[in-house]
């Protein structure tokens, strides 16, 4: 069903976002704790990183239909 596709995409997107966010946060925290003396910026950075990645992924997924895929023709 084509109408369900969008919903599925959103689901994926959210899931991905959550994962990435969490991972980013976690890694941020870890890095902040481990490497950067519990500064906040790695956490934010990580979170931001995660969020950004999630956002990008989501966008890409949503517009994947409209992106033109080119192929390089094999030289014979």
């Amino acid at each position: 069903m084509s109408e369900k596709e969008l919903g599925q995409k959103w689901d994926r997107c959210l899931a991905d976002c959550a994962v990435k966010l969490g991972t980013g946060l976690g890694l941020g925290i870890v890095f902040s704790v481990v490497f950067f003396k519990r500064r906040t910026w790695p956490i934010v950075f990580g979170t931001g990183l995660g969020l950004g990645m999630a956002y990008s992924n989501c966008q890409n997924d949503l517009r994947s239909h409209y992106v033109l895929h080119s192929k390089v023709a094999k030289e014979e």
Partner: protein, 722 residues
Amino acid sequence: MLRVCWKGAHAAARQCVCGKVKAHPLQHCRRYTTAGGSGSTAGKIVAASLLTVGGGLGGTILYAKWDPKFRSNIEKSVPYSDQLFEMALGPPPPPLVPLQKKPGKIEPLQISSLSEASKESKQPKAKAKKSDPAPAEAPPAVEEAPAPTPQTLEGEESKDHHEPALKERPAEEVSARLAQQDKAEQDALSALTAGLEESLGSSAKTTLQAIGAQEAALTAIARHTNKLKEAMDSETPPDEKSTQWKALNEALSDRARAMEEAEEALLKAKGELEKLRGMINSAKQSKIDAARPQILAAEENFHSMIVDLDKVVTKVQTAQTEAKIVSQYSELVNEAKAQFQQELANITPEIQANWKGLSGKLSADDLNSLIAHAHRRIDQLNRELAEQRVREQIHIEAALEQLKLEDQKALERAVVSALEHRREDMRLEQEKKVQEVREVMEAEMRTQLRRQAAAHTDHLRDVLKVQEQELREEAQEILNSKMMEQETHYRRITQEQLDTFTLDMSAAYARLKGIEEAIDSHVIAEEEARKAHQLWLSVEALNYTLKSAGADSPTEPLEGAVRAIKENCAENEFAQALATALPEESLSRGIYSEASLRARFYDIRRLARRVALIDETRNSLYQYFLSFLQSVLLFEREQVAPPAKLAPEDLDTFRLLAYATYSIERGDLELAAKFVNQLRGESQRVAQDWLKEARLTLETKQVIGLLSAYANAVGLGTTQAP
């Protein structure tokens, strides 16, 4: 710039060159003209000479064409001119045939010598008289002889021409007649030949006799002349003189007798020859062809006899003239002697006549007177001699004249006789030739007559054949026409019968056919009705399957029902086509019901509203947020009645969705599907599946509707109203 200069230079150079070139031809022309000038005069000379030669040749040929003699001259003188003439004018004209002289009447060989001989002879005039009428008769008889001969020829020819004009006698009679004629001819011929031979023999005998007699006469004359000469000239003693004279007299009498005999024999011969001539003429008149060679031979003999006779007679005549001369001379001498004796007697009358016996009796006086007389005589004779000598010339001339005259006469006579002989010869030759030609002509005429007869029979045969052919053809034609009439009549009658029969038969057959067709159509109609029923039932089944759709599940696959339909209406093309027109999905998977599609539509609608802004250009996440916001904030009526025509501003997503909702609420899935089809961008993507399903359903429904309508129609058609 440089190139322009270069070009200009080239052009200039070219001009110079061309100019020079132009100059040269002029010079050449001039030279040519000068050369031509001299050449023209030579040409003129050549032309003039050619013209002259040609003119001469032409003139010669033309004149030769006009005058054949000139042509023959040129041909003789100039070699190879005859070839030229032959090429230009054709073969030379044939030489003129010399005009045939008219065969003049052959002058009859007159037996004129008969009259001459009779004149010269010392025969009594009675015989001359007798012989005169004979030659008088002979010439006319002879003249008549050639005349009948051409007449006989003509008569024969005319007879030949007349014969075919007479009516034809039967062949046997003709042959009998011919045989009779032949026999008669043969008899006549034999009689003729016998007569001819007899007369020939007798005439030959007499001619020989005459010739012998003439020759005897000739010898007698010669002897007499000799004797006379001897008597005149010789100086013999008197005794011998007397014997001489006696012998002379004897010779004279001999001569006379021989002449008489010769004359008699000549007359007899002439008589026989006359008889022969008469026979020949009668033979000629008898017109028997077979006798002709004999006649010719007889004529030849006759002619030769006459010729010999004439020769002998001329000889005799010459001898006679000689004798005459000698006798004249002797007479003169005798005269002189008589005169002398007379003178002597006058002077000395007493001396006797015979002065030969006077040798011793003469006295001195007598002697003196005799001597004186003799001297006187001598003087006289001398004077006479002188006179004679003077007159000698004249006398000689006169004598010569006389001799000439006589010679001329004799010559004339000889010429005449020779001419006559020649004429006779020619006549005989001509006769011979005529005879030959006649024979040839006879033979030819016979062959021609035979040919004519053969041609006549052939012609008759051909004519009969043609007539037979014509009659046969006529009869055949009449027969054919009658047959044709009968045939046509018969055919017409049979045709009529056939037509009536065929008419009845065809009527009956037509009725039968009608009945059969009616029955068949009934059967067909029943069949059709059955089929229609079946179709309708199957379509109903199909309809029923449609109803088996659940809320969100599709129907059962329509395959079975469709197969049933296909089986039921195997020969119905329309139904088959329709059955095959059903989409595959519906057959295999089934279709969604309208209600489910309606329900689904609302989901689609919600989604489509939410992603209304998203398309190829706008598809970031932010846009998604914005479109969501738009959908939340945009308030509009859920259902808007669609207009009849869509304007461009109606192609907005929201408006389209409103139209679609309106349509679907009214149960018009098709219109709703049309509006949904107009969505673009993400909305379109979202509504894709629904659209597909809607299409499927619509198609299937359409086909099924057609089928049912068709089945209904067929059923209506086949059902017969009670």
